[in-house]
Symmetry: C2
Subunit: 203 residues, 2 copies
């Protein structure tokens, strides 16, 4: 049995919920209150020394952290992860792009704006995130202007990784008006059988 420790309002955690629902895989979800310090307890750090959600627990014996590593583990042998070769490598290329060139801008701007209420002390940081976020969106648009999904012709975990924070980019101040390919792709994801939205309350 899988147990996921996470917060559904975190895009990194939502990725896992979305894939599990798309795959129809039974699991338990344990809400972790980051703001209350629940990722800093000894018990949590035993599961993940980095002190970050999400964490996947397998039968309460093995633990796996890092959202994109979890997606790769869960998607093995499904249509969401090509079996090998260049297609599989391209999935990873997008996922590393997501963690290095997309999430640190779009997710962090969203956090400062929506979760912290854009305090004056972090306004400069918020504004500094805008250029990098738009650069990432423009790179996605290059691909999605001419292809239905990020890799190949069907949805993969690369799409799930990038969908998580792109579909709430507006909460970080990023308008998607300039990215029509990205907008159409968001709808394509939302029509996948089993799709579940990022809940306003934790599931």
């Amino acid at each position: 049995m899988y147990t996921v420790y996470g917060d559904m309002l975190s895009g990194n955690c939502y990725k896992i919920k979305l894939l599990l629902k798309l795959l129809g895989v039974e699991h338990q979800w344990v809400h972790v209150d980051i703001m209350a310090g629940e990722t800093r307890t000894g018990a949590f750090l035993t599961m993940n020394p980095s002190g970050k959600v999400p964490v996947l627990a397998i039968d309460g014996r093995e633990y796996l952290a890092e959202s994109n590593a979890i997606l790769n583990y869960l998607a093995e042998d499904s249509t969401y992860l090509p079996a090998g070769g260049m297609a599989r490598a391209k999935v990873l290329e997008w996922q590393f792009f997501e963690q290095y060139s997309h999430e640190p801008y779009i997710a962090v701007a969203r956090f400062i704006n929506t979760f912290l209420g854009l305090p004056k002390g972090r306004l400069a940081e918020y504004e500094a995130k805008q250029a990098g976020g738009h650069k990432a969106l423009a790179i996605m648009e290059q691909r999605l202007a001419k292809a239905p999904f990020l890799v190949g012709d069907t949805a993969t975990i690369a799409d799930i990784s990038l969908y998580a924070y792109t579909h709430v980019a507006g909460e970080g101040g990023f308008s998607l008006a300039r990215y029509p390919g990205v907008q159409k792709w968001l709808v394509r994801i939302e029509r996948l059988p089993g799709y579940v939205s990022m809940a306003r309350e934790n599931a």
Copy 2:
């Protein structure tokens, strides 16, 4: 035939050189001068819209970016990448940790200090990187104090990813004195057959 576009003094590029040498795989190396704008040309952006090295070219037809995606592609079916299951997922866990929680601190501090000469205008940023870098090293030490490699009992591409910037962490102001497990692990990597050092001149 593989062609790698990169700069050997970049840890992200050196990862690729190191794996290719450990595997004994023939390849061409094309030096890219980042400071001279060679990653911003139209030809380069066609290979990688992110404008970053390294890029792997396969027979001049297909291109793959993101250092850790390239490592996964090249290591398939070798001892450096477990075939599947939790071991393979743990390799990815460490590689995403590297890109999100290690490289942005240790590699960036090294760049500011060694390549830019620690200019006054970036001193505050350099100093702000120290805590995050030590946090990453402490997490590595937790594992390496009790195990020879990051995943399993033999070297994998997780080790190559983390070795790249850890072994030059001193250039970013990070002393490894507090991390004896990390120090012993560095030596273990350097004794692997085929090991090549980060060249002071580009190969």
